[in-house]
């Protein structure tokens, strides 16, 4: 099985850390074991539980290039997100997809490999939309560059975007280049007392208009909106939308709590947390527990007993979407946490895994049991 890795033996990589990873890879391929790629472990709960020898991605860190006028940052996978955030903030720029921190200290590699996006996702785009390039250490021990540091690049298939959200199943994301954006000049938050169905109706109506809404969240009888943009645009939007203004600090705390899942809704760990991703126009759903709606109706969170998960997954599918068992209590060992793939898609996934990681070393089973 380790044929692929042996084929490139002798060829040395530029960095001792990467050389070490190749050694680990070779040993795991020979022994037929799994390597679990670990960043800051902030998303350790996410995906199927797997065991194996850890590969410490945190060791390879540091910003390689950041040119504010190019709107691009390139960094090693182990770079803490906090370091990237503060470098960007100094130049009044940001990662526009608002990656969640989950109360830990995530690394860039983990952010991109998980491919999760925060409240700004519907307005600004998802993690994958900002990936410009990536360097990958695949299961053959090859170091491959895809994409680059420029805004537009159609040379070869867009593999770096495919790596966003691949959960390390195709290899170690060694370096990543992301597009960054200027921070909005101003932000303001509004709050409305509304029922779930009224909130969804309003959100649908606003979606078709050109309004500076950068985030929305409904929970427990209140709809929150965040507006981002130039002063005059915000003033005009506030007049149009109504609602009550939320004081700046309270608003910041609210959006951060939502992004990082540190707010009260997410706190109780005895229930499972299930994520439903739906077409925005999906109606009010009969969910078995407390719910929180984001992304204009496209992302709905539900707290429920873990046993309810398969039924909720089927419900999401019936609405044209999919669901994830996002967090489960420690005693619940699910077989699947993501919505299963139809057979032709599964065939392509397995073929990709087979070609990028023939010995099945990296994060085997983290996404689906089949690979």
């Amino acid at each position: 099985m380790s044929l692929g890795v042996r084929a490139v033996e002798g060829e040395r990589l530029a960095d001792p850390i990467l050389d070490g990873w190749r050694e680990q890879l070779r040993a795991a391929a020979d022994a037929g074991t799994t390597l679990v790629i670990e960043g800051g472990r902030s998303k350790h709960f996410y995906g199927r539980p797997i065991s194996g020898e850890p590969l410490a991605a945190t060791a390879y860190r540091g910003i390689i290039a950041y040119e504010p006028t190019e709107l691009v940052i390139t960094a090693r996978c182990g770079t803490p997100l906090a370091e990237i955030d503060s470098a960007l903030a100094e130049r009044r720029q940001m990662l526009a997809f608002e990656p969640p921190r989950f109360g830990g200290s995530p690394t860039l590699g983990g952010v991109v490999a998980a491919g999760l996006s925060g409240p700004r996702r519907m307005a600004a785009g998802a993690a994958r939309d900002f990936v410009l390039g990536a360097r990958l250490l695949n299961g053959r021990g090859e170091l491959l560059n895809f994409g680059g540091q420029v805004m537009k690049n159609v040379a070869g298939y867009d593999v770096s975007r495919v790596l966003a959200g691949s959960l390390g199943c195709l290899g170690v994301l060694v370096e990543v280049s992301l597009k960054v954006l200027p921070q909005p000049p101003e932000e303001a938050s509004l709050r409305f007392e509304l029922s779930e169905s009224e909130a969804l109706e309003r959100l649908k109506g606003w979606a078709g208009q050109s309004l500076p809404i950068s985030a929305s969240a409904w929970n427990d009888g209140a709809l929150w909106l965040r507006l981002s943009g130039a002063g005059p645009a915000l003033a005009a939007a506030k007049l149009k939308l109504g609602g009550e203004m939320v004081e700046e600090r309270a608003a910041a705390a609210f959006w951060t709590g939502l992004r990082d899942q540190t707010s009260a809704f997410f706190a109780d760990a005895s229930d499972a947390l299930i994520r439903l991703a739906l077409p925005a126009a999906a109606p009010v759903l009969d969910l078995p527990g407390p719910r929180l709606i984001e992304w204009g109706g496209s992302q709905r969170w539900c707290r429920a007993e873990a046993e309810r998960w398969p039924a909720l997954r089927d419900l999401a599918r019936a609405c044209g979407g999919h669901a994830t068992l996002f967090r489960a209590p420690p005693d619940f060992v699910p077989d699947e946490v993501f919505t299963p793939l139809p057979p032709p898609l599964l065939r392509i996934h397995r073929a990709l895994k087979q070609r990028f990681d023939p010995a099945g070393v990296f994060n085997r089973g983290r996404m689906y049991p089949e690979f």
Binding site: A65, E67, P68, T69, E70, L71, V72, M122, G125, A126, R128, D129, N138, N145, F146, G148, Q149, V150, M151, K152, N153, V154, A155, G156, Y157, D158, V159, R161, V162, G165, L181, P182, Q183, G205, A207, G208, S210, A230, G231, A233, A236, A277, P279, A280, A281, S298, A316, G321, H322, P340, L341, P344, L345, I348, H349, A351, L352, R355, F356, M367
Partner: protein
């Protein structure tokens, strides 16, 4: 099947299988439009890049998905290569036929299946023209944002296959950012699968294969239905034309606009030669004395646009602008853009032929690139006009030549190749939006290592294990790369050394 074990080579087909396939299609699908006389297939021998031509064995124009599926299944069973084709406006030979294969035109799939103004999305067949979609969405005050200059003619299927861009990409994204889902026919070893990539719900489970489909140049699947996001029409838009005495000053102004935290709706540049070609043709009102002009557009609510235009003007003044013109109404705005949109045909009027290159480089290297191109004009004794998406660093040098003069054509091709290699050396890429196709195969060997090219081949094989879809495009074989290097091309190892030292 392992790309490393035996070396990949160009597709080998059996001509008699194609003869059998055509006979079979004729009897099984009597209503299928099937062209195989030379004069009928000749119009399909090239796309928008006539330098590369090849007549196919046949062209089919299915009307229904059932016909399309039957044709693809025939190709699968007989192992006949198949090239999908939209409007044929591609600029890299992507839709150029295979000598022993058939062309499947999607031109008859031109229905807009659904426009949902509340959800702000549209579902279309692949043969729908880019502009036709925006026109259909207009009554709802919506439009489809990616707007290639070819938007009157090019199809959404072609746009997905090329991940096309337009002048509004900096703010509104490329095709990949605006496509929510694509349904496509995939050719597996044992049949044709109808597969949905992406979906109306965000973040589909599994790998993001929709991202791979965008820009895959018809090599992974045949796209049959596309769901795109529509964008609310901005309440208003204004464009600023700014001219400069030096190209370097215009480049600095571009960086300064971005540094000020402004993401304009469009940010385009033209150099002296492009202005000289465009102005007599389009009468857009550009400063014909200038070394370069910028077009910088702001859109949004009226207050927002006023505010942003004021800031842009302040930045331009600090950057030493020569002349500023601001559109005062929609007619003036469209006129200023008309010149830019007509740049290719305008250059086409002053030269028998031109080659359009498509490298993208980091913006800060624009000045360097332009002076290098000026030196190449001397070296190759050919003129070159530069039009580009300055905000994205995506250049379109238009090299002027006469294709009847074979020696001159050779110089033009060498000129283009040198620009592409320099794009890679400056930390960029050989193609920003036109694709690799057949044209840039050799330069792929410059941008990518053999292992990276093998990884692309692995992606293709994962989708298309029989290798029938648009074979021999985009991914050069190792043999071709060796040959290219022996004739003096640069190697990717040298590329790495250069870009890393650049920091």
């Amino acid at each position: 099947m392992n790309a490393r074990c035996h070396e990949r080579s160009d597709f080998v087909s059996n001509p008699s299988e194609c003869t059998r396939l055509l006979a079979e299609l004729r009897s099984a699908l009597p209503h299928l439009t099937l062209l195989d006389r030379l004069e009928d297939v000749r119009p399909y021998e090239c796309d928008g890049l006539p330098a590369y031509r090849q007549t196919p064995r046949a062209v089919v124009l299915p009307r229904t998905e059932a016909e399309l599926k039957a044709v693809l299944d025939g190709c699968r069973r007989h192992r006949v290569p198949v090239v999908a084709r939209g409007a044929g406006t591609g600029l890299s030979g992507g839709a150029m036929p295979h000598a022993e294969g058939i062309v499947v035109s999607l031109a008859r799939f031109m229905k807009i299946l659904e426009i949902d103004p509340r959800a702000r999305l549209a579902r279309v067949q692949p043969g729908v023209r880019n502009l036709a979609l925006s026109e259909a969405a207009a009554p709802f005050n919506l439009y489809y944002a990616p707007d290639p200059s070819s938007q009157i003619a090019c199809t959404l299927g072609g746009n997905v296959a090329e991940n096309s861009g337009g002048v509004h990409c900096l703010k509104y994204g490329l095709t990949v950012h605006n496509v929510l889902a694509a349904r496509a026919l995939v050719l597996s070893e044992d049949g044709i699968d109808d597969v949905l990539f992406g979906g109306a719900a965000p973040d589909s489970p599994g790998f993001d294969l929709l991202a791979a489909l965008n820009g895959s140049e018809g090599m992974l699947a045949v796209v049959t239905e596309i769901t795109v996001r529509l964008t609310p029409k901005p309440e208003t838009a204004q464009v600023v034309m700014a001219s400069f005495d030096a190209v370097a000053a215009a480049c600095d102004a571009v960086a300064a606009i971005i540094a000020a935290g402004i993401i304009p709706a469009g940010l385009e540049m033209m150099d002296r030669q492009a202005i000289a070609a465009v102005e007599p043709f389009a009468r857009a009102g550009y400063d014909t004395e200038a070394a370069a002009i910028l077009l910088c557009e702001s859109d949004g609510a009226p207050e927002e646009v006023r505010h942003e235009v004021d800031r842009v003007i302040r930045v331009l003044e600090a950057a030493g602008v020569r002349q500023i013109r601001i559109s005062q109404n929609e007619a003036e705005r469209l006129k200023l853009w008309a010149g830019r949109k007509a740049a290719f045909p305008a250059v086409g009027r002053i030269t028998p032929d031109y080659l359009c290159m498509d490298g993208t480089i980091p913006r800060r290297r624009l000045g360097e690139m332009l002076s290098a191109i000026a030196a190449m004009e001397q070296k190759y004794r050919l003129r070159c006009a530069n039009v580009f998406h300055a905000g994205d660093g995506n250049l379109h040098p238009l090299i002027m030549f006469d294709a009847h003069d074979k020696e001159e054509m050779g110089r033009a091709l060498a000129f283009g190749a040198e620009i592409l290699e320099l794009s890679v050396a400056l930390g960029g890429t050989i193609t920003g939006e036109h694709g690799v196709g057949i044209e840039k195969l050799a330069q792929m060997c410059v941008q990518f290592t053999p292992a990276e090219l093998a990884a692309f081949a692995a992606v293709k094989a994962a989708f298309d294990p029989l290798g029938l879809l648009n074979p021999d495009k985009v991914i050069p074989t190792p043999a071709r790369c060796r040959e290219y290097r022996q004739t003096g091309g640069t190697r990717p190892e040298e590329r790495d050394a250069r870009t890393e030292s650049d920091g």
